[in-house]
């Protein structure tokens, strides 16, 4: 199962599990669903519910 990318509907930032999110200290390989509840968009700080699946 290819890990799904998610896009921030507020600013367009794309979370790619293959890349992780260094700004929030998330290592590569973490699926979006597995990101903690407190995780926010590293660019615009929007919460998880502001993300749409991209693929």
């Amino acid at each position: 199962m290819t890990p799904e990318r998610y896009i921030c509907v507020n600013c367009g930032y794309i979370y790619d599990p293959a890349a992780g999110d260094p700004m929030n200290e998330i290592s590569p390989g973490v699926a979006f669903a597995a990101l903690p509840e407190e995780w926010v968009c590293p660019m615009c700080y929007a919460p998880k519910d502001q993300f749409d699946p991209l693929d």
Partner: protein, 816 residues
């Protein structure tokens, strides 16, 4: 002698040995498209054929209704009654509310007819006149449980009105109890409207009680109303099951499409159970709602073709409901005209339109309907109410819950507030929207004047949140106690709970969006509205993204700008901005076309077929209308940092920009990206850009014209075009400073700041204080390009943005 009606050819007992009496409903200009078309074509013979067909299908009595706007009801009805009298074995039901028509028909009908109908809407005048005619000509009468307050919804109300009618019809006019057929009406359980979940229960209870408490009286019912809003095949089954249940409760006569009644024996136990759960509003713990189970159950079945063919008999109530759901205004005037023949306008609003909008809201809440579609539905609602207004009593709707809406002092943003207005006013509430930049004193004054039941305050700025907090004490002092709803980008539940709630006597509630606002108003009506609370222990504390340690390189070379000082640029071609528009943020974020539960293919189809064309249309219209007029005031200025401030030399004066520092590691502050005086000083770029006032004028025009959907789309578009202009100009300045780099950007590159340096917009997370606009305005002088400031330093027109442009390679967005 058992109560009976008769045609020229036969008598028919009203209380059939195997109930109910079936009254065929299809010869009705309002209820049947086919019948209506034949009538409009003056094809009386074909109309009679429809009556005969029903007889063949098992109808005991035939309902005849020719009331239609523009037609001569008297002429049509008397002609058809004459023709039917000669050809039909089944007795007739004269369906009219015009006393003159009824009298004329009763006079010439050679049998015993039923009059459909009387009610107490006008207090009893028409009722008395029709009852006297019924007494004189020996007719039976259907009595609806409607009084001047509208259609009775609870069993208690239905029975009360029935008693009142009984007192006049039997007590005064001398009819016998068995001359009366009480129709206590039923509302749909298919809309998902929570207030109608027990509609069937109320109806059956009313039937039971009328039979018990008004002995000798009979009962009738238009059965198919129970199911409108549902799919045709499902309706057939539900109607049939409901008919059976109603008969068990004591129903004597049912107004139906006789061809569509399915005997209970032919309905599977599964179908029957799912219907019974819905009708009796039964839900075992752990089960889904009965309506959801019903819909799921019937959707899973393969559709069998309708015996009668498609398209006929779609009742106007169902049609209007569907039109709201689909956002379809095309035949609105016609459908409303038909409904007005039978329903009071206030009932059309309260019994069809408001439940439809509620259902729309519920679907939105479940992620099954997207915001732009909600707005299209709201447009249908608004258009309907506007069309109905001339026919309504001034006093009707005065009882509706009233909400006062305002954007607070010094703030011009109103897209959020206006969306609340749209949603609340199209859900049956009375909204007084007093606009933008409203001081607290005016809010207090208007709240008292309008006797508002709730006050809603909105504001974009951080400053506006402060103003809301300060206003709480003022409101309390002024004696206000009504609930206050607060909305705005800078608000959080924590702020409202800790800083606003304690300052006010009534409930203070944080509302994240218009639907939260709607929910709050509904909770208020249910007596359940409470202030927002914040529990520090359980609250989710957002992460703070960004580097953890900052070692700002103090040796970065300072670029040489092409000039020092301020310049205007007013010749930018709007179309250069379009490639920079962040369409994902526009479509998904501003417009609300989110993926939700859609599959990738389905969503791609939505974007390609619906959203992209709308976007292209807006680009076309904007260019053609000259709505995008990009103007820039910008410049490069010598500067140096001093602690947390950047001092800027412009026009032979020094201007101070103070920036906040993060309270936690890495303790970033914008001033850190600039060299101090001792380090040799630096250069800072600044800009203020606008796309001009035309967009605001155009969106204002659309809003006032109730074009909600276009208003919403154009406003979102204007926000993203302004942002594109800021991106564009930032790019120009990077190139001018020689730090543009060769990285191809694209929107994605821009989103993650794949370039050197950063721009920081005043009012945004790294520099939330708009006080910076004071010095900025003094040396950029944007008044020349039509930009001004509100008393809270917000820029006008709305589609304007400002920034400090930092060249330092380590500068990126951060939040303080």
């Amino acid at each position: 002698m058992k109560p009976s009606v008769a045609s020229l050819y036969q008598a028919v007992e009203l209380q059939q040995e195997i109930p109910p009496l079936l009254i065929g409903e299809r010869a009705n200009a309002n209820g049947s498209k086919k019948f209506r078309e034949l009538l409009l074509a003056d094809d009386y013979q074909a109309c009679v054929k429809i009556a005969l067909e029903q007889e063949a299908r098992g109808a005991h009595v035939i309902d005849l209704c020719t009331a239609y706007a523009g037609r001569d009801e008297l002429a049509d009805l008397t002609a058809l009654v004459r023709l039917c009298a000669g050809s039909l074995k089944a007795p007739l039901m004269i369906d009219s509310t015009t006393p003159a028509c009824i009298e004329a028909c009763l006079r010439l009908y050679p049998g015993r007819a039923i009059v459909n109908s009387i009610n107490l809407e006008d207090g009893g005048d028409n009722l008395r006149r029709i009852c006297r005619a019924a007494k004189k000509y020996g007719a039976a009468v259907v009595a609806l449980t409607i009084d001047d307050k509208g259609m009775a919804m609870t069993a208690e109300e239905k029975v009360r009105i029935a008693r009142a009618i009984h007192a006049i019809a039997v007590g005064e006019c001398g009819l016998r109890p068995q001359d009366l057929l009480f129709d206590c009406l039923t509302f749909t359980v298919g809309s998902g409207d929570a207030t109608l979940r027990d509609a069937a229960v109320q109806t059956m209870e009313a039937i039971r009680r009328i039979k018990a408490e008004l002995p000798g009286c009979l009962t009738a019912l238009g059965v198919s109303n129970i199911s409108f809003g549902l799919a045709p095949q499902a309706r057939k089954v539900l109607n049939s099951v409901f008919l059976h249940e109603a008969v068990k409760a004591g129903l004597d006569a049912a107004i139906v499409d006789a061809a569509k009644v399915i005997p209970l024996a032919r309905i599977s136990a599964e179908d029957r159970d799912v219907c019974l759960d819905l009708l009796h509003d039964r839900q075992a713990p752990g089960e889904k709602e009965p309506l959801m189970r019903f819909i799921a159950h019937f959707t899973a079945r393969t559709e069998t073709p309708d015996e009668e063919g498609q398209g006929d008999g779609v009742q106007p109530e169902a049609q209007l409901f569907r039109m709201v759901m689909d956002g379809d205004k095309e035949q609105l005037e016609d459908v409303l005209a038909i409904l007005r023949e039978r329903f009071a306008p206030i009932d059309i609003i309260n019994q069809i339109l408001v439940p439809a909008m509620r259902h729309v809201g519920e679907l939105f809440g479940k992620g099954e309907l997207l915001l732009p579609f909600v707005l299209q539905s709201a447009e249908v609602m608004k258009a309907s109410v506007t069309l109905l207004e001339p026919y309504m009593d001034k006093s009707e709707g005065d009882a509706a819950t009233t909400v006062l809406l305002a954007t607070v002092q010094g703030d011009v943003h109103d897209i959020g507030k206006n969306l609340v207005d749209i949603i609340l006013s199209n859900n049956g509430y009375k909204v007084h929207n007093i606009g933008i930049k409203v001081p607290a004193e005016t809010i207090i004054e208007k709240a008292k004047e309008t006797r508002a039941d709730l006050i809603g305050l909105s504001g974009l700025l951080v400053k506006s949140a402060m103003i809301m907090q300060e206003s709480m004490a003022q409101f309390t002092e002024a004696g206000l106690t009504v609930p206050i709803l607060l909305g705005g980008a800078a608000l959080t539940p924590k702020f409202v709970a800790e800083s606003c709630v304690p300052e006010y006597g009534g409930p203070v509630v944080y509302c994240a969006d218009a639907f939260a606002g709607l929910k709050a108003v509904q909770e208020f009506e249910a007596g359940k509205l409470t202030s927002t609370a914040y529990d520090d222990v359980t609250a989710v504390k957002a992460m703070k993204p960004g580097i953890r340690v900052a070692e700002i390189d103090r040796t970065v070379s300072v670029p040489t700008p092409p000039f020092l000082g301020q310049r205007y640029v007013t010749d930018i071609d709007p179309s250069v901005l379009f490639p920079l528009i962040n369409v994902e943020a526009l479509f998904r974020g501003r417009w609300g076309y989110r993926r939700g539960k859609m599959e990738a293919g389905e969503y791609a189809g939505l974007i390609q077929k619906t959203v992209r064309p709308l976007y292209e249309e807006l680009m076309r219209k904007s260019l053609a209308g000259g709505w995008i007029q990009p103007k820039v005031s910008y410049g490069y200025f010598p500067c140096w940092s001093e602690g947390e401030a950047v001092l800027v030399r412009a026009d032979d004066a020094v201007h101070r920009f103070s920036f906040p520092r993060q309270a936690e590691a890495p303790y970033l502050c914008i001033a850190d990206y600039f060299k101090s005086d001792r380090e040799g000083g630096d250069v800072a770029g600044f800009f203020i850009v606008t796309i001009g006032p035309k967009m605001s004028e155009e969106t204002g025009r659309l809003y006032r014209a109730d074009a909600y959907h276009e208003y919403h789309l154009l406003h979102g578009f204007s926000v993203e075009v302004t942002d594109a202009l800021a991106e564009y100009w930032h790019g120009v300045m990077r190139r001018e400073m020689g730090i543009g780099g060769t990285a191809a950007q694209g929107i994605h590159g821009v989103v993650i700041q794949n370039y050197q340096g950063s721009r920081y917009g005043f009012g945004y997370p790294a520099c939330p204080d708009l006080e910076a606009h004071n010095p900025l305005f003094s040396f950029l002088r944007p008044e020349e390009i039509g930009i001004s400031l509100t008393e809270n330093m917000q820029m006008v027109p709305e589609q304007t943005t400002s920034a400090i442009v930092v060249h330092h390679p380590q500068a990126k967005y951060f939040a303080v």
